[in-house]
Symmetry: C2
């Protein structure tokens, strides 16, 4: 019987993933979404072979089930469909925060079903099925976050999937280390960018802007709902990074207040050195 | 006699400007730089018709003199060459902060010489003649900052120049308003980006990064010398914007600490609304 992948949630990430999975193990691709309009468009566009409103119907017979919904919905969806999972199935999610979700999954999965979450480092400013594009995963980062119970075959399956969708840089990490690093590379970046637009100079026009403004505020037009959840789910790590960021800004502010050019120069010079070092990692 | 433009300082901005000015009023382009190697390369590359080590030799016979050096050097260079300026010449600079410079220019210019500074909103992460590229001004913003004494013909000359080098959005502003707006659109953006790299998560690798990291830290590899001067020159306005930014970040931090999802959502939602409004300006 042919390999079967079920993608649950056909928003930006899920629909893009379904499209990018075309050809993966020559699998049949099954989509699940609660919105009828999304299901109709998904079927019409051909990114899925079948669509269901009910998660259980998609999960049934799937060799690989990937949850692409808000993290807080996943435990209930698994609990409600425990009997639907095929023995030997691998279950995954693409959520951006892992520790809290994994704690809530404990004891929930039926025997014979393996779980290994992933975090594809891709996205877009605009959300939803209509903005889906399988190419968002091309040349992206991709983190595999196994549970202690995750089988090595499942981890290898995720590596294979990462390669198929075009991810260029793959890491394997514990959930807590993942969440701590992401608090810097993603959560802090989104907070810093959004905060730049909460207060702005009312007399500015585009004549006063250049690349620094464009790039530093690119993600400021943020999906407030999704990011409130992501940031709250990772709040301890995010607060620590934010405290560190505010402290650096206060040091820069202090150097300006004291006309301390040497201190300001040193901070800017360190930023440049670190950035060049980061690019080599 | 043919029109003659003198560009003083052939670093990234000056050399790019000299190249972009080719064909402007069919002018002869004269470059000035203290470094012999830069002069040799400038002549060889053909971006200038003549080069001089001495500013006075370049200024002599020039109809338009544009200072592309650090702001703190400009008053002395003008004072040392007062007798060299051609009657009727227009003098300009491309410095990113205007009020302090203009205050120091008062009474310095000889009679019959008009001054009108500009601020092309262009640049690059990497500095110096070797990174020069006339195309950096294409589709850029461009601000003309007249003195109260600036003649309207000189202002129109700068509009013509902006159009010639490819600037797409031109504004005219008083020096103080310019400096206040730039403190937000440029100074704060560079500080926010640099600060993101002063402290970073040591275990991060490129697998953990996506577009938000790339764009938010793009200008973090900053020219520390140039930016220390720019920020210090605009320190009152920059400190005000930085205080406002730190305050927003603290409100976000407070919402996280209090698990106040409504407050965090509201801040993120406002960021998005403002960003969309800014893009229409």
């Amino acid at each position: 019987m042919a390999y079967r992948v079920c993608v649950i949630g056909l928003g930006l990430m899920g629909a893009s993933l379904a499209g990018a999975l075309r050809g993966f193990r020559e699998a049949g691709i099954v989509g699940v979404d609660t919105l009828g309009a999304v299901r109709a468009k998904a079927k019409l566009s051909g990114i899925v072979d079948e669509v269901f409103a009910d998660a259980g119907e998609g999960i049934r017979d799937a060799d690989l089930v990937i949850f692409c919904v808000y993290a807080h919905n996943i435990p209930d969806m698994i609990a409600a469909n425990v009997s639907a999972f095929k023995p030997g199935a691998v279950v995954s999610d693409i959520c951006g925060v892992k520790s809290g979700l994994y704690a809530r999954l404990a004891g929930l999965l039926p025997d014979g079903v393996d779980y290994v979450g992933v975090h594809p480092m891709a996205g877009k400013e605009r959300d939803g099925f209509d903005n889906a594009d399988p190419a968002i995963y091309k040349n992206s980062g991709f983190i595999i976050c196994p549970l202690p119970s995750s089988g090595s075959e499942s981890i290898e399956l995720m590596r294979e999937l990462a390669g198929h969708i075009g991810a260029a840089r793959v890491a394997v990490s514990t959930p807590d280390r993942h969440d701590a690093i992401i608090a810097y590379t993603s959560d802090l970046m989104h907070i810093a960018s959004a905060a730049l637009c909460v207060e702005y100079h009312p007399e500015m026009t585009s004549a006063f802007t250049a690349g620094a403004f464009r790039d530093s505020t690119r993600v400021a037009d943020i999906n407030a709902g999704a990011w409130t959840e992501l940031l709250m789910d990772n709040r301890a790590h995010t607060m620590a990074r934010l405290d560190s960021y505010i402290d650096v800004l206060r040091r820069m502010r202090g150097a300006l207040a004291d006309c301390d050019t040497a201190r300001l120069y040193e901070l800017l010079e360190r930023a440049g050195e670190n950035k060049r070092e980061i690019l080599r990692k």
